[in-house]
Symmetry: C2
Subunit: 409 residues, 2 copies
């Protein structure tokens, strides 16, 4: 039984230039942390990610939702978590502050993730193992599929998972093989050309075959020059992603994306405002076959549905510490599966939680684990940091979702 709720506002200043992009000058990677203390002594930990300022607001929202869980048994809760999540996210006064977006939805992410962590710890298994042990019906009972009825009903969701069952055993091999990480820390926006080149060489030496550069400069020329530096160092085979962090208007994006095609980007990420489904559609058509990736600022399954329906997203970067936690992450993954679009999560959690979800998506939903973003900056703060060897993610074996933070910064 959940006896006590602890909410923590944790902030981690980064080194100079780290985390910088076209919009964010000096982010302070921060977590609004929710801990659910069970009477068995177990503590379920979940969090939402922010860039510092306002992390306290998310903590307050998390506290509001978490209070409703006191006295609940985690197994009973998770048996029909979708119903609970639906009720929480539609709390009749709080809902006005969203709905299903912004501060309140981030708060809900922290609480949801704490539930999944506690659930896995209670069963004594890593989260990925718990999730793949569930039946299709049990999985879908943890989801809130409301407002998806035109594309994904409860029964359609069950069928989607069932279709993957005959081949899921083969896909278990990923647990020993692992899957590639990609390095986002080579090319932060404020890094000099020289530092980008050096980082790039280091990443190649460490075994990374995929990496990401921040673009979105006021001068297109800088973006193009730096993109070619990365291509030159990493070679023709490397997957190189370009991330504009919403800096372009649609007319600008149409011009620069065409020019950037000269270095053959694997995707172009967040070209413009994350709410602008129609702009992404126009751009996707204009730059095909180059694909658009987006999702770190997309707050919920409904907007993802619109991006998928309009074929304006080529890689879904849903983030379980932005949407309403693991549950909505899975709902969006199912939707993406229906539309045949790959899921490559954004990792506000530094990959801690998503390493479990990528394994689940790969084995259970047949979403090939292409790779997963790797951002090393907060590793020392986690009790069980992700392990990457030769550029490959190693399967976590500790019970839970790997989200426990050390007590002090």
């Amino acid at each position: 039984m959940i006896q006590k709720i602890i909410i923590e506002d944790r902030r981690f200043p980064l080194g100079a230039g780290a985390g910088s992009d076209a919009i964010h000058r000096d982010p302070v990677y921060s977590y609004a942390v929710c801990k659910l203390v069970d009477d068995s002594g177990l503590v379920g930990t979940g969090f939402a990610f922010t860039l510092g300022e306002g992390n306290d607001l998310v903590c307050k929202a998390a506290a509001f939702y978490a209070d409703t869980l006191k006295g609940k048994d985690i197994e009973e809760l998770m048996a029909n978590f979708g119903t609970h999540l639906h009720a929480l996210s539609n709390e009749q006064q709080f809902r006005w502050l969203g709905p299903h977006k912004g501060v309140v939805h981030l708060g809900l992410a922290a609480v949801t993730n704490a539930c999944y962590d506690l659930w896995a710890k209670k069963r004594g298994v890593p989260l990925w193992k718990l999730l793949i042990s569930l039946s299709p019906e049990q999985i879908v009972n943890t989801l809130d599929l409301s407002y998806l009825e035109d594309e994904l009903t409860h029964n359609q969701a069950i069928d989607l998972i069932k279709e993957q069952e005959p081949t899921s055993k083969e896909r278990n091999s990923i647990l020993t093989k692992g899957y590639p990480g990609y390095d986002t820390s080579i090319g932060w926006f404020n890094y000099s050309d020289e530092k980008v080149r050096e980082n790039c060489k280091k990443a190649v030496a460490e075994g990374f075959t995929a990496m990401k550069l921040k673009v979105g400069s006021k001068e297109f020329e800088r973006d193009i020059r730096r993109a070619h530096i990365v291509r030159d160092v990493a070679g023709d085979e490397a997957k190189i992603m370009l991330d504009a962090n919403q800096q372009w208007t649609l007319p600008q994006a149409k011009i620069i994306c065409k020019q950037l095609q000269s270095m053959n980007p694997y995707w172009i990420e967040e070209p413009t405002h994350p709410d602008d489904v129609m702009a992404h559609k126009v751009l996707a058509d204009a730059i095909a076959p180059t694909k658009i990736a987006l999702g770190e600022h997309v707050p919920n399954r409904i907007l993802f549905k619109n991006f998928l329906q309009t074929k304006s997203v080529g890689f879904v970067q849903v983030d379980a510490v932005r949407v309403a936690g693991v549950s909505e992450f899975i709902a969006v993954s199912l939707l993406s599966k229906k539309f045949g679009i790959p899921v490559v999560p954004h990792v506000g959690d530094m990959g801690q939680l998503h390493q479990h979800l990528v394994l689940f998506n790969h084995i259970k939903l047949g979403h090939e684990a292409l790779f997963l973003e790797h951002i090393p900056h907060l590793q020392k703060h986690f009790i069980n940091p992700v392990k990457i060897e030769n550029g490959v993610y190693i399967t976590p074996e500790v019970p839970g979702s790997s989200c426990d933070l050390k007590e002090t910064n």
Copy 2:
């Protein structure tokens, strides 16, 4: 010069059943209030609207933004307010919590509205009079049109206003004639059929020729029965709006909206989730010529742009206490004008602020003042409450934006 900032969390419990709809059982109408105290002794008051829970979070967000205004001269600030608003709404850490939506954007609404109120008070005129005195260039300088470049550039916005100048004098007659209010309090969701019938008779007797009923019941039959009650009492000529407050899935909406067409609704409001542009498009096509109204939960100009581009909205109900205040309200009004879609604001402000904006839209932008929602519940808390006579809004003459609240509830 702005010397001091005061933030107030004001909450006003309503009478039994008032304010109820298909989602909201017992809202507590609340304002996150921002007051800018000028060294001349004037106080600019602005607010955002919430339903109670979490109003404190919006207050905190408002405080964050308002702090940056200390020491600023209001005339200098408003001369290029669009630039300031752009910078505030993209503050590099806080932005993550939106962007441009939810708690942070509501906080920004409060601050923006306080700026406009102070500006009008400084000039000693009601806000509508100040706004119509501005040149097209001056108006557009108060706007942040970023991410609208594909539909509405700075120069196109100026041209749109200029086109209306030759005919604007004629439209001044609205200042003496007034324009109709419509009564939203006849048909709250929890009211009995009998109460709806009585309220309806009372509204007709008071001169209202337009009124709104809350629908979105679990049983379609209840909605249809009540809609016909209103039509029977109000007569064939009355404009009757039906408001579902997002309660339907798209498949449900397609069925019930067809059935509701039997009582000839003037519009159907918020049929489904406010983020679901594509669902609204499908529904709009399916139920044409019946029009969809929406906007009270649409957080910013970018989503409004998508609704307009897809022709899925027939009446734009942008609310200046939901989007980033008067400034973004005007940006959305201009966009709507470009697409030829009328603006009929939702009134989280109970019409206090919007009575000014409807006059501005009518005279300066050529947006015919069809009517404006009227919700009487908070009248006693305002120092200068809206005046409606024979169902018609009377032009406010007190300097400012009519948003000052009495000190105690």
